[in-house]
Symmetry: C2
Subunit: 218 residues, 2 copies
């Protein structure tokens, strides 16, 4: 059977989540204490209902027990968010994810059984700070604590040089696993591939190696 999702709290984060689920064709129940929000998102969901997330009777009536994965997204209202998570876990919802307002909020959410705590603003700030400070880094994924993959813009410094000329693996210990050129992508580029300024290099490696390459090599 298709998985059933519910989003409680239709702020910027919960509301965006609902729209994304809609685009991905997922079935979603949306709940907000504010009728205007309910009306605004009704078009994107299977059901949209107005009530307070801490209202156990309301949760029973919408059949929350049959939902596989619930998302609690009232970050600003810490007490309600914590209480709602507690109730959802006690009612037997298999997976409950919650948005945290700050680190203390996160700790309490984990204590009451939230299966995962999300910090959208903090995580996006991290991405953007890296991006701004470096000037060359466009985006990144942390692959593990030590390894990352980053998109780095090729500057004048390496314009018209081949990967063999640059010898990045030997000099910096990191690997170019792809090159984006306009809308095209070159996967596992060969050693004789020539870089142009503005190419986006997709680099995988140890964080310290990538940092060194980004500062000195490109």
């Amino acid at each position: 059977m298709k998985k059933q999702y519910a989003v409680l709290g239709l702020g910027r984060f919960g509301g965006s989540l609902v729209k994304e689920f809609y685009e991905l064709g997922a079935e979603v129940l949306a709940i907000d204490i504010d009728q205007d929000k309910v009306d605004q998102y009704a078009q994107y969901v299977t059901h949209a209902v107005q009530f307070n997330g801490i209202d156990q009777e309301g949760l029973k009536q919408v059949g929350i027990k049959n939902i596989d994965h619930v998302f609690v997204s009232f970050g600003g209202n810490i007490e309600s968010s914590v209480l709602t998570c507690l109730i959802l876990k006690e009612m037997g919802v298999p997976t409950v994810w919650a948005k945290a307002h700050n680190d203390n909020h996160a700790k309490v959410l984990e204590k009451v059984g939230a299966d995962r705590v999300i910090h959208p603003e903090r995580d996006m700030a991290k991405r953007i700070a890296n991006h701004i400070v470096s000037d060359k880094i466009i985006d990144y994924i942390e692959l593990s604590e030590k390894y990352s993959m980053v998109e780095i813009v090729a500057t004048k410094k390496i314009h018209n040089k081949s990967l063999a000329d640059l010898d990045i693996r030997a000099k910096y210990g990191c690997n170019i696993v792809g090159i984006l050129r306009g809308q095209e992508i070159i996967v596992s580029p060969p050693a004789d591939e020539v870089i142009s300024m503005g190419d986006v290099l997709i680099v995988m490696g140890h964080n310290s190696d990538i940092n060194r390459f980004e500062r000195e090599g490109v």
Copy 2:
């Protein structure tokens, strides 16, 4: 000279930005209308000052003209955010980025000259919705409109099979550019590399190819 940053508005996003800049060793001026916020973040910044972002005299006094890159992060207060961006651009700040509350806010920010508009909640919701709906996708970067790189968890289905056995490039048109196994990473894995359940495959390719691989191949 080292680049100078300013963050106006120390909510969850602006506040996180300040902390990230601090960890990256960048020089930051922090401004908030709320003295409590100013006190809370003073330890992370070069200067922390309390005033309203629309106060042109205040901006002059802190030397905003000498800042290279200003971040306006009062999403909830649309009028102030727009007016502040307008003033900053008129005062000659080279780069102004602003956080938008919604799409209309974003449009107005662009009209008044914001160099980039950020939607932290929406962007993170997009990542998370993809992650939840797929069950196998851990994270992704959009490389272009058509291409992405994703982290996909290897399931029982491909346990103990080599990359040559799976022949993913021929069957699905996408490429495994790396494998994460515990804390170790295998870059550009050879064809005889054997996959174990729980390995994280780093897959690059056309969005539709990745989707097909994720649904049918893994």
